[in-house]
């Protein structure tokens, strides 16, 4: 294969520009679609991964009330079976590294003339560990704050920005339900949760403060749920079992009685979500590949036409000494050139398209190197695969018949 053969293929392509362009368009659309679709798939996947990571790792959640009881879900509002003491007891288990009992409610936060309504969460300092949540400035509140039910608050990034703007929040006093609270820390940004909520739109106070001073509680010491961090991902199941056993014991449930709590493995849930998005992006890529296939068929079609049209030329070439491989390579090169140039343009169109999708539909996209590389490989494969049959047909022409062809 020499440069002049490439040039030859280029010239043949140029001989019928509109036709070459239209054939190429098939490849352009195919490759473009693959790139856009896989960018959307990868973007979504990355986003889900990020949300999952932001949740905290090896996370279990214990909800008050059993999931179902004769088909009726017992709402956690009615049954207040979990307590702060349950949380402390569970923390002693070998498979569990931290627990954070949590109660929350909504409240309005006011700083000077700015105000913001949000979910206020009452919990213990281990919450920050369980959620893998860094404090950006200031400090988290302490166990002593929990014991003393002090009026301190740690703000999520969104709230800090909305109440304070560029001002430093730590050390300032805000009002929650008309009582003054000292801002001791601001959390780092976490972004969206799996269900699309802004996780940074939150304010965190000691659980005792929440229960006694903010929301009040019918059952003192009871919590809505407890977040639990297992020691590692390998002991998740063990932790679940041990927790259930401990809680049944603590709640003095009889052998036959149902659990009065529900344990959810959030990490497992997250994995399912991840699998789902993976499947989705695979499906997107598969659908896009079909257009690539159609593009390939277009190439084959046009190459067959081209071989028929140029039968006489092929005859001349064979008559003056072209061997089979010369003709084969000539037509394969043409098919390859169409598919590779189409692929190049397709990559540009795809990248541009993906960026447009991101801009106008605010879908997060991730253009991956591998999708571009795979597109190239597939386009080359398509060129060879769909170019081979017409090229072989040309190479196998009988010289005298090809020369006689009108």
């Amino acid at each position: 294969m020499s440069l002049s053969m490439l040039f030859e293929a280029w010239r043949a392509m140029g001989a019928n520009r509109l036709r070459t362009f239209l054939t190429m368009l098939g490849m352009v659309i195919g490759v473009g679609a693959v790139i856009v679709m896989s960018a959307i798939g990868a973007g979504t996947q990355a986003k889900v991964k990020e949300s999952i990571a932001s949740m905290g790792s090896n996370l279990l959640i214990v909800l008050a009330g059993s999931m179902t009881s004769g088909g009726v879900r017992l709402g956690s509002g009615g049954v207040q079976t979990l307590t702060i003491a349950d949380a402390s007891a569970m923390e002693e288990l070998e498979s569990i590294s931290a627990t954070a009992p949590t109660s929350s409610g909504s409240a309005q936060l006011i700083y000077q003339s700015a105000n913001w309504s949000t979910q206020v969460t009452g919990t213990t300092p281990s919450y920050f560990q369980v959620r893998d949540w860094e404090i950006e400035s200031g400090y988290p509140f302490m166990d002593s704050d929990v014991r003393g039910a002090t009026r301190v608050v740690v703000l999520g990034k969104t709230i800090a920005q909305n109440l304070f703007g560029d001002e430093e929040a730590v050390g300032k006093t805000i009002r929650i339900k008309n009582s003054p609270y000292l801002v001791v820390g601001v959390l780092s940004k976490k972004g969206q949760s799996l269900d699309g909520r802004d996780q940074d739109d939150t304010a965190i106070v000691p659980i005792t403060t929440a229960q006694t001073k903010l929301f009040g509680s019918q059952f003192k010491g009871s919590v809505r749920f407890i977040m639990v961090e297992a020691v590692s991902d390998k002991v998740m199941d063990k932790a679940e079992q041990e927790m259930a056993q401990l809680l049944r014991q603590r709640h003095k449930l009889r052998e036959s009685a149902e659990d009065d709590f529900t344990i959810r493995n959030l990490t497992a849930l997250a994995n399912t979500a991840e699998e789902t998005t993976k499947a989705m992006s695979l499906m997107l890529a598969a659908i896009a590949s079909i257009s690539l296939l159609v593009g390939g068929i277009g190439i084959m079609n046009i190459m067959l036409v081209s071989v028929t049209e140029r039968t006489r030329e092929i005859g001349i070439r064979i008559a003056i000494g072209a061997k089979q491989r010369h003709i084969l390579v000539q037509f394969l090169l043409e098919a390859l050139m169409i598919s590779i140039i189409g692929c190049l343009i397709g990559v540009c169109v795809g990248v541009g398209g993906a960026l447009l999708v991101q801009k106008f539909f605010s879908i997060s996209v991730a253009i991956t190197q591998s999708s571009i590389m795979v597109s190239f490989l597939v386009a080359t494969g398509v060129g060879v695969f769909f170019g081979f049959y017409p090229a072989r047909k040309a190479a196998n022409l009988e010289p005298i018949e090809a020369l006689r062809y009108q």
């Binding site: 002049s4 030329e313 005859g315 000494g321 010369h326 020369l403």
Partner: protein
Amino acid sequence: MEEVIKITNLTKNYHTDAGEVCVLKGVDITIKAGEFVAIMGPSGSGKSTFMNILGCLDKVTSGSYLLGGQNTANLSRDELAELRNHVIGFVFQGFNLIPRQNLIDNVALPLVYAGMNAAARKIRAKEILKSVGLEVFGTYLPNQISGGQQQRVAIARALINRPKLILADEPTGNLDTKTSQEIMQLFCDLNEKEGITIVLVTHEPDIARYAKRLVNFVDGKIQHDGPTHLVEKEPA
């Protein structure tokens, strides 16, 4: 003298919808190196069929064709391609140039298949174009020059690999008398100065007279074979 072509009892059948058609019905001929042979005969007598077989473009039905002592029946497709490339130069009535390529590229095409590099091809192509008097037209396309010039280009292409044998099927069939004479003069020079063996089909006795030997085909057989100067001028 070395035998370039030795044909014994050659037949050629064509399959048609109407059944087998026997076009060549037992041809025997030997052509030695340096000969200049003209083939004549009525239309449909099998001259072109015979030439195509000589040019290794078509296969024999039975009988044998030795080219330079080699039985062509035993050669593979690619070996035949090599013979067409190196040993034979074929000149067609319809020129058969490649329309979208300029004259240099057309002339150089056999060299591409011979594996010569681009720079050397160009030099050789220009040289051979010059020898047929067309050096200034190198970058023209075939449809930008006259028929006579196109046939010169086709001859240049046939000559570029220095073949031993030139086969020309009615090379002057599409040309006027004067141009035909020029082309024939070219063939004579090649035969006399370079010693190239030439076999040429024509309908015109004036053209045939340039050759040294005349072979007459009638109905798929050689009816007459002898030196040109002994043949009477046939009525046109």
